[in-house]
Symmetry: C2
Subunit: 211 residues, 2 copies
DNA sequence: GAGCGTTCGTGACGCCCCGTCATGATCACA
DNA sequence: TGTGATCATGACGGGGCGTCACGAACGCTC
């Protein structure tokens, strides 16, 4: 069969070359496998080889993409933070005041983690511990974005200046831990949990010490 | 040399036998070594043999006392919770109202962690992560004690019923995370941090949704 | 399409840590 | 002093770790 004049591929192909494609595919496959393995075995028990075995790739290939189990875990956290960031930004953009921002952001977070949990914390053994998220770039960015949103909204409302670092830390802490507890309850009630967290924060804000 | 009538030891010795003494000594030595090693290398990098090497004991001896690195870490958390518990109880006993309890408890906690940090988080490499404390018996007991104290104090004040589990979770979350941030600042200001956390919680309490 | 340099998947290898176990020393008790 | 129980010891097999030399597949040029 001749291919003369048969939809000749343009010399400048928009799609990246095969090298690039298999590279991102492998990276993603490792990430997905890691999610599954961490979910099934727990972080401590999981090994690099458990992860790479599931992808069908060779053990050495893992190290072409990540240096260690810790690094692939960080990449997972980074990935989660990266996917959550637009949702957070959406809330901070459409928020008119402090309350609507806090409520929107926390509800968005609770819905996010509820979805994530369904997606990959399938049957983790109870008592198993996942390490605290390390301050990866995206995770730090989420923290910073929350703080900046606080600063913007509070200044716009002519609220007295408070310790923004402590405030951000406290709000994220409450959201994270209430979120965890929420996931343990049946049925999962994101609205109720958000209502609790939001009211705690909003009620506490006016009482905070001023700088 | 004769030992006749030379301060004969009473048959019923109050002190435990040598077996028992070396046993507790070994257990404590392993615990202390683990504290040091976790502090110096971080939790992930530390190995059972790093710990046991520092005690001068044989590697097999470690497993006579703990099943794994995880278990000795849990024992450390348990130990910390056990030492903190009386301080917490003291606050809940001398507290007259909700505010004095929360303020006393949080300040006690902040002073406690500040002291602990001096004692054994000597020069941990930055970014190193220590896992979240697993719900060991003593850790759970602290959580329960806080919740019971909340229940008692709130009922005594005829406050409307709230979601005690969420409230306890949120307060502990705030205390833990603000406490961590506090330790990163110089100078370490336990009073200021406690003031922030207490006012946030106390301000938020009246706004919480009622059951 | 042929040739060439580069990239990257591969799996065997040496290293070290893991948890176990047979052995012997030490202790409690008679 | 004798005897059984307890427990420290360190050697050992198993396995995960991270590396590396090799070769295949790819991109590029002529």
């Amino acid at each position: 069969m001749s291919n003369i004049a048969y939809f000749p591929k343009p010399h400048v192909d928009q799609r990246p070359g095969k090298r690039e494609r298999t590279k991102t595919a492998n990276r993603q496959a490792i990430l997905d496998a890691a999610r599954e393995v961490f979910g099934e075995l727990g972080y401590d028990a999981a090994t690099v080889r458990d992860i790479i075995r599931r992808t069908g790739l060779a053990s050495g290939t893992f190290y072409n993409y990540y240096k260690s189990k810790e690094e692939v875990f960080d990449a997972l956290a980074d990935d989660g933070a990266r996917r959550f960031r637009p949702l957070l930004r959406e809330q901070s953009e459409k928020a008119t005041d402090f309350e609507s921002f806090v409520r929107g952001a926390i509800l968005a977070y609770f819905n996010f983690v509820a979805t994530e949990q369904e997606a990959w914390r399938i049957n983790r053994p109870p008592g198993e511990q996942i390490p605290h998220a390390r301050p990866t770039p995206e995770v730090t960015a989420v923290f910073d974005e929350v703080r900046e949103a606080f600063a913007r909204v509070l200044e716009h409302a002519h609220a007295p200046p408070v310790d923004l670092d402590y405030l951000t830390t406290a709000c994220i802490a409450v959201a994270r831990e209430i979120g965890d507890k929420m996931l343990e309850r049946r049925p999962v009630d994101t609205e109720g949990a958000a209502d609790f967290a939001v009211k705690l924060i909003l009620g506490g804000l006016p009482a905070l010490p001023r700088l």
